[in-house]
Amino acid sequence: MGQQGLIMLKVFLSKLMNPLMQLMHITCKDTSPVISEMLDQPVSSAKYWRARIHLAMCGVCRYYKTQLEILTRVTHELADEDSPAKMDVSLSPESKAQLKKVLKSQQ
């Protein structure tokens, strides 16, 4: 295929794709809430595919998705019984003494 043919092919493809893109017109703003929602529940297939198509084209949203996934993992770690989250706080000695007193009085 010559140079001319290639240009014609490009024009043909863009003529085909542009209306398709217009039709879908999925922006980052549309996709970002869906990325978040997909972490919580299965979304409708229309929503799912619109998001997937956008994600395939948009590296920024792909990284946003990675960041939200990291957030979820770290949150689960935070929820753990031995979480390091609040290591710097403790019950004050007075609070502990008070707690012991209350418990003793109930025994």
Partner: protein
């Protein structure tokens, strides 16, 4: 039954701080958290007969604590709405008029698989959670920390499903933004 399990002084010394910290992650109010720990240990005393050493004492106490924290949330909903109101409109992320992100994402330089091992990040996230608007924090805790199903949150706490997604999305965005200020820049 283990004789030790009746020694409430020992409970306070051994588990007091652990229970308190666990509660503080969920209930951002030291007085309320302390109250919940007390109610938990009192309930444990009361229910001591049901502790048959099948689980460890620690996980038994945490089991009771989890119930008491949810009770706290149920009491809250009597005088605080969990649902989204027009004045809660605070998405920190701006988009360009054409719907693209206004600024490019900051690289967290992090292997997603290993993120949870990053103690600094876990602690930074706890700090950022405390900065969330209270309503967003409550919903985020119920969903992501307590792992309640969306249906349960919507039914039990009177939140419209569409609003639940909006709240969670905004809470995540705010946490992400806060981490980028307080954590990413300091790594």
């Amino acid at each position: 039954m283990n004789k030790e399990s009746l020694d409430s002084d020992l409970w306070v010394d051994r588990y007091g701080d652990l229970l308190y910290r666990y509660t503080l992650v969920r209930v951002n109010d030291p007085d309320a958290a302390q109250e919940i720990v007390q109610v938990t240990l009192l309930a444990a005393l009361e229910a001591n007969k049901s502790f048959e050493g099948r689980s460890s004492e620690k996980s038994w106490l945490f089991g009771i604590l989890k119930h008491k924290i949810l009770d706290h949330y149920r009491r809250l909903k009597k005088y605080k709405t969990f649902d989204l109101l027009p004045e809660d409109d605070t998405d920190p992320f701006d988009y360009q008029p054409d719907g693209h992100w206004k600024s490019l994402p900051i690289d967290w330089k992090l292997d997603p698989e290993k993120a949870a091992e990053n103690t600094q990040l876990v602690r930074a996230l706890a700090g950022c959670m405390d900065k969330l608007p209270e309503k967003f924090r409550r919903i985020f805790v119920l969903k992501e920390i307590e792992g309640l199903s969306s249906d349960k949150i919507c039914n039990e706490f009177n939140v419209k499903p569409t609003n639940l997604w909006v709240i969670l999305h905004r809470a995540r965005n705010q946490l992400k933004k806060c981490l980028e200020i307080h954590w990413v820049n300091k790594v």
